[in-house]
Amino acid sequence: MKKHLPISILLIGCATTLFIMKCGPPSASQWTDTNVLPQILPDISDVTIPSNIAPLNFKILESGENYEVRIAGKSGAPIRILTGSRGIQIPERKWKTLLESNFGDTLQIEIYVNSNDSWNRFQPFSLIVAQEPIDSHIVYRQLGPVYMYWNKIKLVERNLTNFDERDLMNNRDHGTMCMHCHAFAAGNPERMMLHIRRGPGTGLLLADNGKLKNIDTKTDFNPPAAMPSFHPDGNRIAFSVNRFKQFFHALGENRDVVDLASDVILYDIPSNTITTTPDLAAPDWLETWPAWSADGKTLYFCRTPQPGKWNLPYSEIMKIRYDLAAVDFDMATGKFGPVRTVLSAEETGMSLSEPRVSPDGRYLLFCMAEYGNFFTFRESSDLYMMDLGNGEFWRADCSSDRAETWHSWSSNSKWIAFSSKRYNGVMTRPHFAYVDENGKTRKAFTLPHEDPEYYEVDVFNYHLPELITGPVPNSESDFVKAAYDLDNQTPVQLDPAVQVPENQTKPPEMWLPGKK
């Protein structure tokens, strides 16, 4: 008897489990229609999704005892989830099959909530499955509330087709360095760069043929490089060099930033040389946010007249509005043409920043807000699309009434990723929106997570969700080693043609490491 005891216990356990599963919440067979959309987090109602996206798990915010979710398309086996929990986890394999069976079509989602022994059915909503897939991965920077001091920061690579993620760098493992502004050449995961600062590993990490190099971008002319844009050929990076000052409001969004000095420079990777031109680094202009066109023949950037002093009163800061400008670039000679204004702040009545050109060269996506150029702290910041063929521009429908920034394009030009504060006005979340053939965007969806309640308790910011076509080949160890390999850090050379102004005065720097 004793010998069989464990087997008996196991069998009884299995039988009990099966019984409990069988006797789970009863399915909705009769219900009352509420005719209102269910409150769910994140909001996925009527969004357009790529066919290769991971399940859009969500939390039902309606109160009840049991919940049933039915997801069905015109073809393929429908998914039915019956649960006592508000968190809805969609089975991954069934989701994939359903999406693959409904390319270019719609899925309908019905939510039933059982309360006091009666079922209510909420108004069904749709998911539109686009024909075009999204790039398989994104890389974003995850950090806490961005104020004066930072602590934990990590650069994360997330597979969009499932829930896999890994740290490309996590400062838990190597001190409290700050890392920021990663960029890829045309979404190529093998050609990337990342800035590291405020620590022994300060420098630019550049992936070159699978190896990471540490480059010191500081020269007599410029401080370390900041906002990057990889040339499509992967051999040049245009940077802005900035002196930001952070300040705070007593009412409304409390964070704000003013750029006190900035220029645009060009880093030529093969020759390891930094150069610029008087048009990109004019003493009486602030130039920032460079962005290459898809063919690499035009460099877009934002600029505004230099206000002329460091200590600007707020009344002056509020007047700073950036134009969208451009210069032609001769790839053979490396020479820039004269600057021209593409879209002026005078015309729009707003300030413009973060231009990004679609890989097919048709559209330019940018942000506009009432002033300044650092829009993650400006609630009024929205995404705008410009047709580069005729210069027309319009507000992207995927924008919300809160800040949208840090956008990037999928390699097929059909999807954009961006950070949005639409849920709470404080934390940025990665969002994705479909771009149709006319450059119109559709309602965006939030980066899905395996844990359906993730966004309710997540208090991190997600900056710069850069879409890439596959996983980054380098490991975290590669990045850390490159960051700390200061013996082999390569200082860039300054193009002798660039004149270094004498007696450059520097405004104070603001952000500091906050580790005790």
Binding site: G144, P145, Y147, M148, Y149, W150, N151, K152, R172, D173, H174, G175, F247, F248, H249, A250, L251, G252, N254, R255, N311, L312, P313, Y314, S315, Y423, N424, G425, V426, D451, E453, Y454, E456, V457, D458, V459, S475, E476, S477, F479, V480, K481, A483, Y484, D485, G514, K515, K516
Partner: protein
């Protein structure tokens, strides 16, 4: 014969008193009596003197009951010991339960040290030595900065080491993978302290019976290769970062701890003592027995017992950092809004730092004593003690958030609560404050997030209840009565926060809301500290907006100065006359000065004795910081003026 029977390695036998000789019974009694006295003293030390609630106040480890919180800890070496320490630390908020946890950790370390020693020597004859790590750990835990994760790491490494020693005589084939697995697992569990385990185990293998030199060599090599190689696989920074920030993660050297020598002594003691005992064990039983005979001789036993008790008393008398305790007590009272407690603690320990001074002013405001008492207490920091600069307040960001919240400066309160969240993690106090701020700001989504997190804490989940009620109420947040009342204090027009001159925010807040009493009192206190009697007098009429029944004493002192300087004869301000008593005291103050021929230096001692707690004395003798050229009165960046 004292040692009748060598014990099996690592085995505790129950005490069989009936078979003991009288001498041994006395030995046993003496040992347990020593234990009882030692731990009673430690209990008193931690419970009464150290107070674990203050350790918690200093470190405030974050802990949530969810798997979501647990997952990251499982993802890196040493994470699990940090998780365990974060869990145990939560109980420190209860002074006596926290004391019990600390005593249990020290007792566990001692018991495992006995276990380890007996495993090495196959004798339990050297158990008094186990008091040494207990004493050293007690010293370390007496420090308010010492991270509990390190103590947990020690405990685990001793436990693992004991087990390895117990298994050393197992057959060679299964033992090798077990050794490798345990080494890797130890590193994963506790990171840094596993090196002690590797060292002890590699040594102990050589005392294994029935194994050839080659087998012992292989086992040692496995231990060393896995022990030093495994971290290379797990830690991306290894070999790149300096050792103290990568390889030896959580070894006390790598942590911000004021007494690293003590932790080194502890590690060193365990390893050296084990080595010593191992050498002894190799000498043969007869030599050990003869050494044990000397070691356990009566006079030596007595000396050891007295030494243990002496060490415990030494801990009691020397390890408490009174200054740190006092400062933490002030912060604790301030959190509890025990304002009388804050002032009493400062009265008893006037050697305050700027943050204590900051709480002192808060306490005076909340007890209605700021205008009467602020110069009766230490004013060594001037404006820095009224409102510290951002660099000084960073590590007290929660307190800064609380302060600005009290002043209805909700954006700045949110700013500092977010800084606190970044620096210290989501502890329940920060979460509660953020929930309150977002309720007032009407941000339902953020209120939901903070409430949910608060509801997932271990011991403070009830704090979420009022916020759940607010969320469940269909009335818009801003229209709910309690929130509406708080919002009434809020400004209705924006200004730029004066980061480098936070006192300027008093001006901006008061200008926008003349009913903000706290901003007004702080503004007046700032003018007094800045020695700007003229600015102070400019605002005195606004007293009429608040329920004052008389002029506060220091205000009268400032007004008397003003009258002298302006040759004014009207002693009535804002409808209140300066008291006769103040006028008499001022006359007396001036007479003393006159008596010394106007020589401030000569008059100093007498004035200090009679009038050291007055604004006159502060003006004349204090050298405290006033932070800026007060003549400008303008924040150059914002253009704001007084």
């Amino acid at each position: 014969m004292i040692w009748q029977k060598p014990v099996q390695a690592g085995t505790f036998y129950p005490i069989d008193w009936s078979r003991m000789s009288d001498k041994k019974k006395i030995h046993q009694l003496g040992f347990w009596l020593t234990i009882a006295i030692f731990y009673a003293l430690l209990f008193f030390h931690f419970g009464v003197r150290i107070n674990p609630a203050l350790i918690f106040r200093n470190q405030e480890p974050v802990f949530f009951t969810t798997l979501r919180f647990f997952h990251p800890f499982a993802g890196y070496a040493g994470g699990l010991s940090e998780y365990a320490a974060a869990f145990l630390s939560q109980f420190f908020i209860f002074r006596w339960i926290g004391t019990f946890v600390l005593i249990a950790l020290i007792g566990g370390t001692q018991a495992l040290t006995v276990y380890l020693f007996s495993s090495v020597t196959e004798h339990k004859s050297f158990r008094y030595a186990s008091f040494v790590p207990a004493v050293l750990l007690a010293v370390m835990l007496s420090h308010y900065d010492f991270p509990l994760a390190t103590a947990v790491g020690f405990l685990v490494t001793l436990n693992f080491s004991g087990h390895i020693l117990r298994m050393k005589n197992w057959p060679f084939i299964p033992l090798v993978p077990i050794l490798a697995g345990m080494t890797a697992f130890a590193y994963y569990l506790i990171a840094g302290p596993y090196l002690i385990f590797v060292a002890i185990s590699a040594l102990a293998i050589w005392s294994a019976r029935d194994k050839s030199i080659l087998q012992k060599g292989i086992m040692s090599a496995v231990l060393i290769v896995v022990g030093f190689g495994f971290p290379w696989l797990l830690n991306p920074a290894l070999g790149v970062m300096p050792l103290d920030t990568s390889y030896l993660r959580w070894i006390p050297r790598s942590i911000p701890f004021a007494w690293p020598v003590v932790s080194e002594m502890l590690i060193g003691f365990i390893i050296l003592w084990s080595v010593g005992l191992f050498i002894l064990s190799q000498l043969g039983k007869s030599r050990i027995s003869s050494f044990a005979r000397i070691w356990t001789a009566w006079p030596l036993v007595l000396v050891r017992a007295l030494a243990v008790i002496g060490l415990a008393i030494l801990i009691l008398t020397t390890t408490l950092n009174e200054t740190a305790k006092s400062r933490l007590t002030i912060r604790q009272y301030a959190r509890q809004r025990n304002w009388d407690g804050v002032l009493e603690e400062i009265r008893q320990h006037p050697n305050v730092d700027a943050i204590s001074s900051f709480h002192m002013h808060r306490a005076m405001y909340h007890t209605g004593r700021l205008g009467d008492d602020m110069f009766r207490y230490p004013q060594n920091f001037g404006i820095d003690g009224l409102i510290p600069l951002k660099e000084d307040v960073l590590f007290y960001a929660t307190e800064a958030a609380n302060f600005w919240f009290e002043m209805a400066h909700f954006n700045e309160a949110e700013h500092w609560a977010h800084e606190a969240l970044t620096q210290q993690g989501a502890n329940p106090w920060i979460l509660r404050r953020l929930a309150e701020i977002n309720a007032i700001k009407g941000n339902r989504s953020m209120l939901q997030s903070w409430t949910t997190l608060l509801d997932q804490t271990l011991l403070q989940r009830k704090w979420a209840d009022p916020f759940k009620a607010q969320l469940a109420d269909p009335t818009p947040l801003k229209d709910q009565p309690a929130i509406k009342q708080a919002r009434a204090q809020w400004i209705d027009s924006d200004f730029l926060i004066h980061l480098n001159l936070p006192e300027m925010d008093f001006v901006s807040l008061y200008r926008r809301n003349p009913e903000n009493h706290m901003a007004y009192e702080y503004l007046m206190a700032y003018y007094l500290l800045a020695r700007q009697v003229g600015w102070f007098v400019n605002e005195i009429e606004a007293m009429r907006n608040f329920p004052y029944s008389r002029l506060p004493m220091h205000w009268e002192e400032a007004l008397l100065i003003y009258m002298v300087e302006t040759k004014s004869t009207d002693p009535v301000f804002a409808g209140f006359p300066i008291s006769v008593e103040s006028i008499q005291r001022f006359n007396d103050y001036q007479q003393i000065l006159t008596k010394y021929g106007g020589n401030r230096k000569s008059a100093h001692e007498e004035l200090r004795r009679k009038y050291g707690g007055t604004y006159w004395y502060y003006l004349m003798y204090s050298k405290s910081n006033i932070r800026m050229d007060t003549g400008e009165g303008v924040d150059a960046f914002t253009g704001a003026t007084r």
